[in-house]
Symmetry: C2
Subunit: 129 residues, 2 copies
C-alpha cells in the first residue's frame, strides 16, 4: 500500500509522508485507526526507523496523526483547514512543474491531459457525495 524509491530525488521520509497523506485523504484509513509502528513500517520498507519517525512527525505536525509513546500513531479526525490563495497558488505551480517533468520524461501531452481529466472527474464525483 506504500512504495518508496530510494533512488529518487525526493527524500524517503517525504515519500512516506506523501504516500500516507494520499491514503488519509482518500479515506483508505479512518480516524481512530492505528498506523503500523515505526519499527514495523521501517522493516517493511527497508529504511531506517528514523526515516519513518520523521514522516510520522511531519504528518503529526499537519494534524493527521496523534503520536503517543505507548499507543503508536493514531489517525485523527482532522478538520479541513480553510483554503488560502497561497495553497491554491502553490498547487498550481507544483502542477505546472509536475507536468513539465512528465513532458521532459517523454510522456505524451495527450496522455498527461487524459490523466488530469480522470483525476478531475474523480474529484468532482467525490465533491458531490
Amino acid at each position: 500500500m506504500l512504495r518508496i524509491d530510494l533512488g529518487a530525488a525526493t527524500p524517503a521520509y517525504e515519500q512516506i509522508a506523501n504516500g500516507l497523506r494520499a491514503l488519509l485523504v482518500a479515506a483508505a484509513m479512518a480516524p481512530g485507526e492505528q498506523l503500523p509502528t515505526v519499527r514495523q513500517l521501517a522493516l517493511d520498507l527497508g529504511v531506517h526507523h528514523n526515516t519513518v519517525a520523521e514522516a510520522y512527525r511531519q504528518l503529526a505536525a499537519e494534524g493527521w496523526l496523534d503520536l503517543r509513546r505507548r499507543r503508536g500513531a493514531i489517525i485523527l479526525d482532522r478538520p479541513t483547514p480553510a483554503s488560502s490563495p497561497e495553497a491554491v497558488a502553490d498547487f498550481a505551480r507544483r502542477l505546472e512543474e509536475l507536468i513539465a517533468k512528465a513532458i521532459g520524461a517523454g510522456v505524451p501531452r495527450e496522455r498527461i491531459a487524459a490523466e488530469l481529466e480522470t483525476a478531475a472527474r474523480h474529484l468532482r464525483k467525490g465533491a458531490e457525495s
Copy 2:
C-alpha cells in the same frame, strides 16, 4: 521568472531545476540561448552558487543543458525521449500525491478539478499545434 521558497521541504536546487525545466518545456527559452551564469542566478535568488550549480548539473544530466566552463549553460535542442510505462506511472502517482497535499491544505476539490481541467485543455491545445 523563477521563484524559490527556502522554507519548503523541496531542496532549493530541486526547486530551481523544476522551475527552469517548466520554462524549457514551455519553450520560454529556445535552444542555443544561454542561461544566466551560476553566480548571477545565485545572486538573484539569494542562494549559494553551489545550489544553482547543482540545479544546472541536474538539467545537464537530463539533456537540457550543455555546461561549458567559458560559455556558461547553453540550452540544447533536446530530443523528446520515448515514453515509458514507468514515466506514466510515476506521473500518475505524483499527481495523486500532489492532489492529496492540496486537499489536506484545504483547497476545495472543485477548485483542484478546475485547475486540472485548465491544464488538460492547455496540453490538448499544445498537442494539436
